[in-house]
Amino acid sequence: MSEQQDALEDLEEAGVLAAMSWAAESAYARTMRDYDPDAGHDQGWVGYTAHGFLRDRQDRVFSCGKYSVSSPADALSGLDTVAAGLLPGEFERMPRLLPGAVRRANLNGSPGWRFGDWRWLQAAFPFGESNAIPWPQKSPTKRRVAAQRLPGPTDQPMLPVEEDEAHLFQDVMAATLLAADESADDLTTLVLAHAVQKELGVRELFLGRSRLNKGGGTAWHWKHDLLKPPFGDYGRGAKPIAPKPPGGFDAVPDAAVRLRRHVLEGDGK
């Protein structure tokens, strides 16, 4: 089963994908309602505002941040806070998720949410250019997320202790290893990428695994269009962007290899 399928099935089943879609819809509805070019609002304002609203809407739907509650039972009592500031009908359409199912999981100060082993951060991008998001030029956090290792064959030990250093470690290594923290996180961080074409008010919303596209190439190992009809058809009808084979993301051109002249003459067609 591919990572994409794993992620989408987990998040779909828990209602997280629907919640993300709702959050983005609400965020952009409010942004576009407030958008006023005559007042000096520009593309930057749209992106910034929508980004902030999206964070807020995710916190609402996932009961995180200032909308967090101490127990599921408390959730009902605070719903007026959750509804405050939303446009008419939005609160009614908001998917209901059990508080605590999704938690805040920021990364280096960048807002993030977590469900199970999946974490996601938000990223805005210019409409229509989702495949060309230049991750290497983004923040160190986004760069690092894009550089995450893909699931692969079992890892091999890295640098063994150099022989001439071994004496430095021998005594204490065993004890330290015994006390090792085994709770190392195995989170995979995804990106919830959003955009709007402000004149037409059309949106894009993708959830995917970003790819560090140094030297160009596609910005994703895989991405899923959250505005497309429900994800239930996955694997039967519309195929998601197929992940390439491991290592196929190498965007650097091949080395300079040329046909010799005699081959060209003999076989050139």
Partner: protein, 392 residues
């Protein structure tokens, strides 16, 4: 010009034209000692030695037996390219003590196969000319700063701008260095390098799957190719020199000295790692080497790193490893003009399966069944035949 499969060679012809060095090659690829092969073909070890030294020709029936046992066609035993005697092109293997002679022989035989494939491909395509400066470094001298000088020389010679180095494999390939993956069966051998026919070759370990470690490996092997062409490989001093070369090549002292933290500041180290495409461990090593970090700080940092399991797998950040392109690209463009893999494998006189491993962009992973040693093959533990059908 017509390209077709080479005419099938009959066992009797192979017997008449038999080249013992090809038998040595086949035996090493199969991971067999002479006595093990002898037992399998029901001959004495002395007879096998005599075949290999060309002092005795095997009878056609013996050639047939050899083909069956080793999994090669009779044509494999026809005379091959003349090679310089062993010694002038001994590969640089790391940790010699942990790899047996048999494993090293097999790995080097694989390197020679790669050379044969290269020669076959270069009849049809042009690869970039080798462009590696040579600097003979005194392998007895532990104090010299020649490894660092050699790294700076290579950076200058290759016009590498100040700052982090990009795709290292591609950079080497465009300077005529052949980079290939070794088969998964030989994963016990670390990356190694050698030079034949003036084509420097780096063979990567297929199982690392670690972008940062692989880059350090490539830089380390470039160090051998620049500094140690004529020297005996594998001793502690040359290995240390190659590590120093790699450290300076990837993390030049002039540029790194002010950037490296004096404490194990993981955030800073993580950012440096992302910028310079080197591991946390390499950065720590460099920090101590350049005196930015004290021995005690270094030790504690490495211990912490070990305790977190980061020595095996550093946290989070792992780009896809760099992939070689010279051979795969050549196969690709030759395929477009009607020269297929089978023809090229035939010209290189390499079994097709092995040809595909050599010319692959990606490490090849055999199914568990085929990498499981067959007890009947009488192979020492850890050595697995590179021929798919060997011993069957």
């Amino acid at each position: 010009m017509e390209h077709s499969r080479p005419a099938e060679v009959r066992v009797s012809d192979a017997s008449r034209l038999f080249d013992g060095r090809r038998l040595t090659l086949a035996r090493q690829l199969a991971g067999l000692r002479k006595n093990a092969l002898a037992a399998q073909i029901d001959k004495s070890p002395t007879a096998v030695a005599a075949y290999e030294s060309n002092s005795k020709r095997p009878a056609p029936a013996t050639v047939a037996q050899l083909c069956l046992t080793l999994g090669v066609d009779p044509s494999f035993f026809l005379p091959g390219a003349q090679r310089p005697e062993a010694g002038s092109s001994v590969p640089h293997f790391r940790s010699l003590r942990s790899t047996s002679q048999l494993v090293r022989d097999q790995a080097f035989a694989y390197g020679l196969v790669a050379t044969d494939v290269g020669a076959a491909l270069e009849r049809h395509v042009e690869f970039p000319n080798p462009d590696i400066p040579r600097l003979s470094v005194d392998v007895e001298d532990e104090q010299t700063d020649l490894p660092e000088q050699a790294a700076r020389l290579l950076r200058k010679h290759w016009d590498i701008p100040i700052g982090p180095i990009g795709h290292l494999v591609r950079m080497a390939e465009n300077r005529g260095v052949l980079v290939v993956y070794s088969p998964s069966q030989t994963a016990a051998v670390d990356a190694y390098s050698f030079e034949t026919d003036n084509r420097p070759t780096v063979v990567l370990n297929p199982t690392k799957n670690d972008y940062f470690r692989q880059r350090f490996d490539v830089a380390h092997e470039l160090g051998h190719l620049v500094m140690h062409v004529d020297s005996e490989p594998g001793d502690r001093i040359t290995e240390n020199q190659a590590n120093r070369f790699a450290a300076e090549f990837l993390m030049p002292a002039d540029e790194m000295r002010d950037l490296l933290p004096s404490k194990a500041d993981w955030r800073t180290l993580g950012a440096l790692k992302a910028d310079w495409n080197v591991s946390l461990q390499a950065l720590l090593y460099r920090s101590r080497q350049l005196g930015a970090m004290s021995d005690v700080t270094y030790r504690n940092a490495v211990l912490y790193l070990s305790s977190k399991g980061w020595r095996r797998r550093e946290p989070g950040v792992m780009p896809v490893t760099e992939q070689p392109s010279l051979f795969p690209k050549a196969v690709e463009i030759l395929g477009k003009v009607g020269i297929g893999e089978e023809v090229l494998a035939g010209e290189a006189r390499v079994p097709l399966d092995l040809f595909r491993v050599v010319t692959s962009r990606f490490p090849t992973w055999d199914s568990p069944q085929s990498t499981e040693p067959n007890p009947e093959e009488n192979l020492p533990s850890g050595v697995i035949s590179l021929f798919r059908s060997a011993g069957k």
